[in-house]
Symmetry: C2
Subunit: 453 residues, 2 copies
């Protein structure tokens, strides 16, 4: 009986995160202040983030030590298993070997606590009493709720109204961990009240929820704000995924030919991929694919420009692939991939041609998810099915080419609280969506006055 | 940093199940034919079960080899981790060490696939094309759906109507694995049609669902029936839990003073406990507790009698602790513990005073579950919170007595698809239920003509 699960011992868990900034072929463009168009300084951010995280955001150290108190929490679910999808290989009759790094084993069921825990820790160090955040589908909000419970910090989550109503289980998870989950727009903030006054039935949006969370943090020194993707320090924390995976592959004498991850804001993809990008910079031949939904083709059809991180324009201007901050993605069920922009680090790696963005249509992703569940048992999150969908394409290509490729991908989360999406698919109620070049041009018009990175 | 997760390597996974029958101080009373009151023979059962399972049901071999093809499926999620609940220990300020065997990591999220997989395998060996079963809350039905997908067997699950409507996610999980999930009573069976004719709005019951599933299996040689608890072969398959746990405790040089599990039909409890009962028979001093809900006090208030396994009286008479086959437990949220009887093996161990039954009230179990989630991160199933509730009592007792006890319990499943129960608790909508001696006497009247074991 061959082992299909490669376990890393707790004492072999990485003790540093990997910061790719010093290894990039050319330096990143800095975030800009939207008023002055000058680079933002750490001081500009300290009202909403603790200094420990701000320093990580701009650090040029290659290795950043993981604090002992963070490792003590990571150990609740880390190191995560590296598994081999033998049944899927057999089903596809492919010579490719398919490995997946299983981030679904965390308490909230995704990779999100890899950054929620250190974010809560650094806030605790600086005496933050309450952290406010936004959440769309609820993965990030529930991860932060879990992390705040671990450090005894109050947690307030603004959840996009339509998701709050459609996905009640995520809200209850947050409450079980002691967090306060509020449908957004709410009457707790000025911006929320303004929107409710204009439209009492507003379904909300991630942009509005971000604005509400930031408003709650600004002007209260004991309250901070937290973001679950996009920023450098978030991607930094997620590199534990790839660092562990590299060790696990070494244990069995494997090196990947192909690395795959789904990308919404970019943190799960970068978490797995970035340590392998380093190997690629150092000369290894690896194909690295970031998979996005065809309905929200930030990387494959968007442009590399300066843009706001949110609809309400409350963030600095970030250098990133974007569809424009006013772009509203179609209502696909992979809520975590419905974001107009892409992490600046991921965007930079695309520009440097170190990684390759690809897109897949919604119906194909659910077909892939169901085949996966029937072969491998575990039911993947709708976001994760995007990676699986592309893995299947690569495995089929390996078969056609007769090549014994080694593929690794990030299994970013399980779908147990997203079953309604599977039902909608099986009942034939889902659609594919695509955008034309014209749609994109129109969406990007709002950025024409901005500098280019 | 101390390791709180004890991992067993795949190659150290037990390769036999443990059958306690030959080690019992006195022999088990046999199941009886309800008509003749004579012991049932293997032949009486072959219409609904494959012979491989029937032979395990009556085997007197101490060790029964796990087939290679079952081990190949177990490896998808086994060996499961043994974890230490350090944060809960700290929260309780107890000198007790609390270990939990984490059965929630399986694809359907509970211990149920430990028996679903071998049941599907033995059926496949004997060319079964379709397996029918019943499910209450859905844990068992989804486990069998997963197992049938692994072996390419058709799966038909009769789900109690009220649960079918209240817990849509479980149904969708079964469908995702390719099973057909039907609300019971249905018009697919004679008994179902009869009930619907009398009451078109019947909410269904486990008894009705069992009768429908058995009716579908009887008279079709390619279709069999499967049961998720109670029977000897089911408990046998679950002993992998305790066998693994013993190996894991040995790895860290620990021996348990206290073993705890929740018990509905008895399979999860027995799975962990029975290998330790063997040590107790051999002289070890271990306190072993089976925890049931105060609302369905089968072991603590029921009697050890012969009774039917189902409301519709379609099973043989089983020697067990029972509240009577017509007893309808109050609507507590631990659906898996709402069963009128108890596995004959567990009942026998109570009679032999090798294990001790205890009961806990519903509200206390949810309080325990929430404390657990905030300390340990993982959100437990409502059934599992019964074990946790008693673990907390034991840990507090250890503190009072100043004893450094080692406690191990079975973490039978996660609560991610049971979040509605947590919401009801947090909103103050749940109650405690208790029964009087008078209620019990009345419920048991229907058994007065039956022989005693």
């Amino acid at each position: 009986m061959e082992d299909v699960k490669i376990i890393l011992n707790a004492q072999d868990m990485p003790t540093s995160w990997y910061n790719i900034l010093p290894d990039l072929p050319t330096p990143m463009s800095p975030p800009l202040h939207p008023g002055t168009k000058q680079p933002v300084s750490p001081d500009d951010l300290k009202e909403i983030f603790p200094m420990g995280l701000i320093l990580q955001e701009v650090s040029s150290d290659r290795e950043i030590k993981i604090p002992e108190q963070v490792l003590e929490k990571y150990i609740i679910w880390r190191p995560t298993p590296l598994r081999r999808a033998k049944n899927l290989e057999k089903f596809l009759n492919t010579p490719a070997k398919i490995y997946f790094k299983d981030e679904s084993v965390s308490p909230p069921g995704s990779h999100k606590p890899n950054t929620a825990v250190p974010q809560a820790y650094y806030n605790k160090l600086e005496n933050t009493k309450k952290i406010c955040t936004e959440t769309g589908a609820g993965q990030w909000g529930s991860a932060l709720a879990f992390a705040c419970a671990q450090f005894g910090i109050e947690c307030e989550v603004f959840m996009v109204r339509v998701s709050f109503d459609q996905k009640p289980y995520r809200k209850i998870m947050m409450q079980t961990w002691g967090a306060n989950c509020i449908p957004s727009p709410s009457d707790l903030t000025k911006i929320g009240r303004e929107i409710l006054e204009r439209n009492p039935d507003s379904p909300g949006s991630l942009g509005i929820a971000i604005s509400e969370a930031i408003e709650r943090a600004v002007g209260d020194s004991a309250t901070k704000y937290a973001l679950g993707s996009v920023l450098n320090h978030v991607l930094l924390h997620q590199t534990i995924i790839g660092l562990e995976a590299k060790k696990q592959l070494e244990l069995i004498g494997e090196k990947p030919d192909v690395v795959i991850g789904c990308a919404g804001g970019g943190s799960n993809f970068a978490g797995l991929a970035v340590p392998f990008v380093r190997d690629k910079i150092n000369g290894d031949k690896i194909d690295i694919y970031a998979v996005e939904p065809a309905s929200c083709p930030t990387m494959t059809m968007g442009r590399y420009l300066y843009d706001f991180g949110d609809v309400a324009k409350s963030t600095p201007l970030l250098p990133m692939h974007t569809l424009g901050h006013s772009f509203i993605p179609p209502p696909v069920h992979a809520g975590g991939l419905r974001y107009h922009g892409m992490a600046p680090i991921v965007s930079k790696l695309i520009e440097e041609e170190l990684i390759m963005p690809v897109s897949v249509p919604q119906l194909e992703t659910f077909e892939a998810g169901i085949n996966w569940a029937r072969c491998e048992g575990f039911i993947p999150a709708p976001e994760t099915t995007h990676a699986i969908c592309y893995v299947i394409k690569e495995a089929k290509k390996a078969k056609e080419e007769g090549k014994e490729k080694t593929i690794i991908f990030s299994y970013s989360g399980h779908g147990l609280v997203d079953m309604a999406a599977y039902e909608a698919y099986m009942e034939g109620k889902l659609f594919n969506y695509s955008l034309s070049e014209e749609d994109i041009e129109k969406a990007l018009e709002e950025l024409k006055e901005f500098p280019t990175p």
